[in-house]
């Protein structure tokens, strides 16, 4: 049952990280927390034995989306780069 508890902990962490990504201050922080959300979702998909989807989620959510969002933020508002 230890695996079950770990699975529910991951589900709770997904919820917490999703709320945090919306409510955190600063665009850059939100993007990083969104990539944490993607990594947790990857773990969840692996638990559910959907390895193909897990791979796509890891590569797109944690890799590509973070890179594109950070680039877009750095192109639009330079002030958010500084720590707030």
């Amino acid at each position: 049952m230890a695996l079950d508890i770990a699975f529910y902990l991951i589900l709770a962490a997904i919820l917490v990280s999703a709320f945090a990504a919306i409510h955190v201050r600063g665009h850059l922080n939100a993007v990083i927390i969104l990539s944490v959300f993607s990594v947790l979702t990857t773990v969840k998909f692996t638990f559910l034995q959907a390895v193909d989807v897990a791979m796509a989620e890891a590569v797109i959510g944690a890799g590509l989306m973070t890179a594109l969002f950070v680039t877009a933020i750095s192109k639009t508002r330079k002030r958010t780069w500084r720590a707030r």
């Binding site: 559910l48 193909d52 791979m55 796509a56 890799g63 590509l64 192109k75 330079k78």
Partner: protein
């Protein structure tokens, strides 16, 4: 006659209630999936695919068999979506100009120049073994795009433009798109459906070996090429775009 304050409050209340309802439904769905994950979930479509896909397509990865054989037309649609997004990004952001020369530190660059060839093993493995192991053209292609972005970020946009010119990215995307559509017509010329695999006369091969699955490895390669070139050219357009209406500051 209600005041604007009350109207705003009611709107927020309704929106909050709807969000709560949606998230509750999602939580119930997730808990249900968690409860059922050890057992097999009987569905109508599961049995035919898992029972027949190896014999019909020669691919032991059922997900790839569905994506590249039974539902290959949908995969073509996904590739078209990426093509459209690249076209829109190029139209809005314009021609990439003024590549910045900001690079990572010396230590990161030396380390990456030793490790980068090893990094390329994973996406190529995922693409070429798409019909044998989890993964496929889409996942491997996105990994390749992320590696191209890594080269741009680590060694500067000018070096990235020298190593992988934007023209080559565009050419490989067009080539892969034309190849995907062209392979589909082979099925029609052979008297079968569009994008047909074994029915169009492609050799099935021995299931489990690298050269098996008929046209599936070729489709994986083309989709991987197309996704990698498309997504990395989105990044190139974004990185080469000059920021507008921003007071120039030294960082």
């Amino acid at each position: 006659m209600e005041s604007p304050v009350i109207r705003v409050f009611l709107t927020r209340l309704t929106a909050g209630f709807l969000c709560l309802l949606l998230s509750l439904g999602f939580v119930v769905l997730l808990l249900d999936a968690g409860r059922h994950r050890a057992q097999t979930i009987p569905t109508q479509m599961e049995e035919p695919y898992t029972a027949r896909s190896v014999a019909e397509t020669g691919s032991i990865n059922v997900v790839t068999a569905i994506l590249m054989d039974y539902r290959a037309f949908d995969t073509l649609g996904e590739a078209t979506v990426i093509f459209a997004s690249v076209a829109v990004a190029a139209a809005i952001l314009g021609k990439p100009g003024s590549p910045s020369n900001r690079t990572m530190g010396l230590l990161s660059r030396r380390q990456l120049s030793a490790l980068l060839p090893l990094f390329f093993i994973f996406p190529l493995f995922v693409i070429f073994h798409g019909h044998l192991s989890p993964g496929g053209g889409f996942q491997g292609g996105v990994s390749l795009a992320v590696l191209v972005i890594l080269i741009h970020v680590a060694f500067g946009d000018r070096f990235g433009e020298e190593v992988i010119p934007h023209r080559i990215l565009a050419l490989s995307e067009y080539g892969a798109a034309i190849g995907l559509v062209g392979i589909g017509f082979v099925g029609i010329f052979q008297g079968s459906a569009y994008l047909a695999n074994v029915a169009a006369g492609f050799p099935r091969g021995t299931a489990g070996t690298l050269a098996s699955g008929g046209v599936i490895p070729l489709l994986n390669l083309l989709v991987g090429m197309k996704v990698a070139a498309g997504l990395s050219s989105i990044y190139v357009h974004l990185a080469g775009h000059e920021a507008e209406n921003v007071p120039e500051k030294r960082r």
